[in-house]
């Protein structure tokens, strides 16, 4: 009988599987990703509902006030009052809900609110009209409420930390009661009340120089001082630029440049129209501001200003590169808004993307990405290949 082999003691020897080895796996995945995306923007839905006040951290965490917190696919309202809920933009998932002890639920949740993430994203300062009238601070590492400080008469319009977390500022409107307050952040380690407490280091109420040189209107009337709006620290933390808001549809806001930490006036500049946002360029030489839908640049040394070749309502400059991310809700011949990047050296608009209802913009802590969030829970992530 013919056979083609012999039976050996070892009987069956299984053949080794040929593993698929693709040395180029990472490069292939990169090509596939680049092929499928038609822009540097990624769009995600991060939460359902509506919030006109929210803030994005440098790690892409979005916070706002809500009674609802979705976890495990289910919304929970429970017996809690409104809480600060934090969503992760990158993962499109809810992260945590921070509650304030002894606060009860109120009927409406879309009341005035303001938030400020510390640059390290460890601390969050929040103010909300439904809570006790004071700034509330939270520790995101410990996931807890730290305490309150800085009692106020009216919910602040804007809260901001300086770049190295050395200072914190609060800008309030309210005419006669309006104020700009600055705290030096405690650097004596982590105390029970958190890094911010007590009375502000300095405070500025109605700017005398503005009343004298500009308007004689009574508080609350057109042309009168309305309060402080957007406020930002210079990169070297020596100057605070704050928008001085004026009542009236046709009034012109100003930008006050104030010394840190004294808040003494260094300079002031009157813009044309209401200022909706401002930021410092990475080198600290200019301020980019948006007034009446138009973007401008203001040289800090000379106070020379010029309109930029694009319209915008929100703007944030990159910390180290000549780049600025902007949002404009209004386009010529179109009802659609847009997000876009600007090369500040060439004044060239890059990477435009249609977007509506954007209320907050932020560069990531490492400067490699930018985030935008809308009041309807949409998030836009800018992931350029060159940053």
């Amino acid at each position: 009988m013919e056979t083609r082999g012999k039976i050996s003691a070892g009987s069956i020897v299984p053949a080794g599987q040929r593993a698929l080895v693709v040395r180029s796996a990472a490069l292939v995945a990169r090509g596939l990703r680049d092929l499928t995306r038609d822009s540097n923007w990624v769009v995600k839905k991060i939460f359902t509902g509506y919030s006109s006040a929210l803030a994005i951290s440098g790690l892409g965490h979005v916070c706002f006030i809500s009674r609802e917190f979705q976890r495990g696919g289910q919304y929970r309202t429970g017996d809690y009052g409104q809480r600060v809920v934090v969503y992760d933009v990158e993962l499109s998932t809810p992260m945590l809900a921070l509650s304030v002890p002894n606060e009860t639920a109120v009927g409406s949740q879309d009341l005035a609110a303001a938030f400020a993430w510390s640059p390290t994203t460890r601390f969050l300062v929040a103010a909300w009209a439904g809570w006790q009238s004071a700034l509330h601070s939270f520790d995101l590492h410990g996931k807890m409420f730290l305490g309150t400080f800085g009692e106020f008469g009216m919910v602040p319009k804007y809260l901001v930390w300086s770049g190295t977390e050395k200072y914190f500022a609060e800008a309030c409107s309210g005419g006669k009661q309006a104020c700009l307050r600055l705290w030096r952040v405690r650097d004596d380690g982590m105390s029970p009340g958190g890094p911010l407490y007590g009375q502000p280091t300095s405070e500025l109420s109605v700017p005398g120089w503005l009343e004298r040189q500009t308007y004689e209107a009574e508080f609350g009337e057109d042309g009168a001082f309305a309060g402080y709006g957007r406020t930002v620290f210079s990169p070297d933390e020596k100057t605070l630029a704050s928008v001085v808001e004026i009542h009236g549809d046709w009034a012109d806001d100003s930008i006050a440049l104030l010394a840190v930490p004294t808040l003494k006036k260094k300079n002031a500049f009157q813009a044309q129209g209401h200022i909706t946002d401002l930021c410092w360029t990475h080198d600290g030489r200019k301020i980019i501001y948006c007034a009446a839908g138009q973007a401008y640049s203001l040289a800090v040394e000379t106070m020379y200003f010029e309109p930029l070749p694009f319209g915008a309502e929100l703007c944030v400059c990159h910390a180290h590169l000549p780049l600025c991310i902007c949002y404009s809700s209004w386009l010529k011949n179109s009802a659609k808004g847009r997000l876009f990047l600007v090369d500040m050296n060439r004044m060239e608009v890059l990477d435009e993307y249609a977007a509506e209802g954007v209320v907050n913009l932020r560069w990531s802590s490492d400067g490699a990405k930018a985030y935008a969030a809308t009041q309807h829970g949409m998030a836009y992530i800018y992931e350029p290949t060159l940053l």
């Binding site: 050996s8 299984p14 990472a26």
Partner: protein
């Protein structure tokens, strides 16, 4: 003298052996066919991978090198910013990784894989005769595995003469010497059938793995686009070159 009538009787094990041999023969054909399909897919993907790296990979390597230079320049301009120093180190590591994956650019353009009918016939023949899952002898299996690997390489390269040499070499080898005994042979055939079935499952799994791979997804998209008259590989090259130009401009600032 008694006349004895010699009646040829077929023993049960011989009947079973004949039946199993038929089953084995059918499986050998199927196995060879599946091996051919798997080898074709691997060869096509291998050729595509080489083309992709030749056209797109080397440009990604150039882009990553420029990105590393940009990050290093930024780090140098801001020596006190630790984050920028970290970014620069990460960008340099990424550039080295991409360069090593993409390899050095060579002038010779890789071509797409194509196989002639004669190559396919020869490969089927080798798979039927030499397949390691069609023996139960350990030494023979090792020899067959070696030959099968050589056959796969030869097929991918389109080397017809090498496939003929592999066939000849195996047919003349001592392992091809045939044995004896219906019972023993039946056991061998049953085991070969079992191994062949096992190998068929493995081929199926390998094929699924290949079809799920990013490389196959990318190739499919490119093939589909090509059917509609688009050269997506060229478009990818242009896209990366645009990024390279942007990076160069940034370096010149």
């Amino acid at each position: 003298m008694t006349l004895k009538t010699h009646i040829k009787t077929v023993k049960p094990e011989e009947r079973e052996l004949a039946s199993k041999r038929e089953e084995q023969a059918t499986l050998e054909v199927e196995l060879a066919e599946r091996e051919l399909r798997s080898a074709n897919l691997r060869a096509e993907l291998g050729a595509f991978e080489r083309r992709y790296l030749h056209f797109v990979g080397v440009r990604y390597a150039e882009l990553d090198e420029l990105k590393a230079q940009i990050a290093e320049r930024l780090a140098k301009e801001h020596p006190g910013v630790e984050r920028l120093q970290q970014n620069a180190r990460a960008a340099r590591a990424a550039a080295s990784e991409t360069k090593s994956t993409a390899g050095e650019d060579c002038n010779e353009e890789p071509v797409a894989f194509e196989s002639s009918p004669e190559m396919k016939r020869l490969y089927r023949e080798v798979a039927k005769r030499v397949h390691p899952d069609l023996t139960s002898d350990r030494e023979d299996r090792n020899k067959r595995q070696q030959l099968m690997a050589e056959a796969n390489e030869a097929y991918e390269r389109g080397d017809e003469s090498k496939l003929i040499r592999i066939l000849t070499e195996y047919e003349c080898s001592p392992e091809a010497v045939q044995g004896e005994g219906a019972g023993s042979e039946l056991v061998r055939v049953i085991r070969r059938i079992s191994q062949a079935r096992g190998r068929l499952s493995e081929i199926e799994a390998e094929m699924q793995e290949l079809l799920r791979s990013d490389l196959y997804q990318l190739k499919s998209r490119l093939d589909e686009a090509q059917r509609h008259g688009r050269d997506v590989l060229k478009e990818m090259v242009e896209k990366v070159e645009e990024q390279i130009a942007q990076a160069k401009r940034r370096l010149q600032l």
